[in-house]
Symmetry: C2
Subunit: 371 residues, 2 copies
């Protein structure tokens, strides 16, 4: 039923919501407390709170030593050819799991084609990258390591680097017991996934609200939540991450401006080669959105309120102006959770057999995939 | 007396050491334990252990909130024009307070002219930078922020950035109480200095040895220590950091090869404009030297043993070959201390009035000063 409903275009769903709202309003009008409870229940059915602890990972048994190895790898610039760029460079744990760039800067100061998505809570996404081309975080982590515009490295070189460092050899053996060749590109990816799954931001005001604390949202934020649901935002931005659960055309009602949705980035079309997937993207996570500007895959919009308005015109088919844009923006601020405290790892030193940094721009490999 | 002695060229001092050694050897020959004790005492007179706690800073009252502010600033890429580069980029707390580059990579992937010196224990240096042109860490920290090849920013822009972020405004007010304009470039520098002074690596085997634990150095390392002192290494590499205490010509006995000592970098000559300061540099810290390759201001030497040999020919005037180079290298490994555990800060988010990142290469300012 939910799926069927979600398959309807937003405008029809909006109409349905309004219809339901009118009926509910008629039924519940006498008791404001009851109506309030209903919004909590309604929100609790659409969204879910971020848990304190990471979920189980399909096909990846998580142990403390694997998480620890992943933490080291996440921060280790030796995963890149230049030995200057790490996962942390673009997915900064001090900056909401993202960077401050429109699109990330990688090897040779090249700019990537898309804004870096946050790693925080990303374990809950249905798939990874803006176009969902990686099925999980392990698969995702292999992309930037090899992309020419990002870390510009090769799996062989990464393995040679890690295998040259005795402390890594030891940690891989402990994290992947019983394997004949534990130091592998695949295991690097599994360890990074295990660490990234710990990057959760529980305790956002919305989570407190849907788990019973009515006062966790300000009256304005509650108004914003009402509008967020009723106007159709939550049709794409639902679930635990308020996004990241499905693929939607960017510009269903009206194409956004060329700078916000560059013509040459056709999104999921490149993955599926299906005409209807042109300009289709995974809906981004709205968790911590108020602290992870700039916005959209182009990174061209810096003000959250502007992003809300663009969503109104491009996705909902009407202008969100004045107070409407304000209260949705206020509601979005209620999605900022407790940021994870991560100790910067002490990285094991290189040895004489560790490959040296390669910082030159040429010879370049084929241009990297989009982020 | 010490100063007078240090003013003698190494070869004479070596001769004096050998002379003293012969006399001491004759006197102490019967008791090996006594001779051992003498080396401990001798080493304790030349070197000093790294303390557990930071020293007082002249003109900079250190408080916990100032250290905390400094920690945030050290990791904050918004000190750079691109908002991608922080102090941490080139002085990585997970990599011995340095980076893995020959010379650091900065704004626009430009390479700086000199290898990044470690920030660890650098508070004990007589001055900062390879040429000692900054009197302390506060003054030092202002350099890379402004250098076109490093962070490429301006003091005004840094202050505008910090002042646009309420949490920084609050922290500056607490760290610099009673000041009318606490958010200033000078106070940024003072806070960074306060944090950097906490980046200490106590507990190296040498420190245990000179404070009474004879077994802290292996027999080979003790041989290396003997040779390190007797052959004149400690003439420049003495004190708490085994370096960083004075200025010495690189190539006193014989000019190193052009790649190791590039002709166009005349070192302290540029600071003092004095002919005798050509190719004069501050002796680098040897603390943690085994984990902070590559070596020399050019960063052209990757193997520690090679660096030891170059020092022999260029500074001491004789080849350190075979076992001699080996045992000094082994001794240098006894200078690796306990690395500081630093929690990665959660950085306060930008606001709508925060200046946007400037990542373009042009217009460039004048070329940055050397590192």
């Amino acid at each position: 039923m939910k799926l069927l409903f979600l398959a309807l275009p937003s405008v029809y769903r909006l109409a349905a919501f309004v219809g339901v709202g009118i009926v509910l309003g008629a039924v519940l009008a006498p008791g404001t407390g009851l109506a309030q409870k209903t919004m909590q229940q309604e929100a609790a059915a659409i969204f879910r709170p971020i848990p304190e602890n990471p979920p189980k990972l399909p096909g990846n048994i998580v142990t403390p030593v694997k998480v620890e190895l992943g933490r080291l790898l996440y921060f280790d610039p030796r995963l890149s050819a230049s030995q200057l760029i790490s996962c942390q460079t673009c997915h900064n744990v001090g900056l909401g799991g993202a960077d401050l760039q429109e699109t990330s800067i990688g090897h040779g100061w090249q700019k990537g084609p898309r804004n870096a998505p946050t790693t925080f809570n990303s374990v809950f996404n249905v798939a990874q990258f803006w176009d969902g081309r990686a099925k999980d975080l392990a698969e995702q982590s292999k992309g930037p390591v090899q992309a020419a515009v990002e870390m510009n490295n090769t799996p062989d070189r990464v393995v040679a680097t890690l295998a040259s460092i005795p402390q890594y050899v030891d940690l891989f053996a402990k994290a992947f017991p019983g394997q004949r060749n534990p130091v592998s590109f695949e295991n690097m990816a599994q360890a990074i996934e295990a660490f990234e799954a710990t990057l959760l931001t529980p305790g956002a005001p919305l989570d407190a609200f849907i788990t019973g604390d009515e006062s966790a949202l300000t009256p304005t934020q509650q108004e914003g939540l009402r509008l967020f649901i009723d106007s159709g935002c939550s049709d794409c931005h639902y679930g635990i991450n308020l996004g990241g659960m499905g693929y939607y055309p960017f510009g269903v009602a009206e194409a956004p401006s060329e700078d916000v949705r560059p013509t040459d980035d056709t999104g999921r079309f490149v993955v599926t080669n299906t005409a209807s997937d042109k300009y289709v993207f995974k809906s981004p996570i709205l968790r911590n959105v108020a602290i992870t500007q700039p916005y959209f895959h182009s990174g061209k919009v810096w003000r959250l309120r502007d992003a809300v308005q663009i969503m109104g015109s491009s996705q909902l088919g009407f202008e969100l102006e004045g107070k409407d844009a304000d209260i949705i923006t206020e509601f979005l601020k209620a999605l900022t959770g407790k940021q994870p405290e991560v100790a910067h790892p002490i990285l094991p030193p290189s040895t004489e057999s560790t490959p040296k940094p390669m910082t030159q721009l040429l010879p370049e490999k084929e241009s990297g995939k989009k982020g």
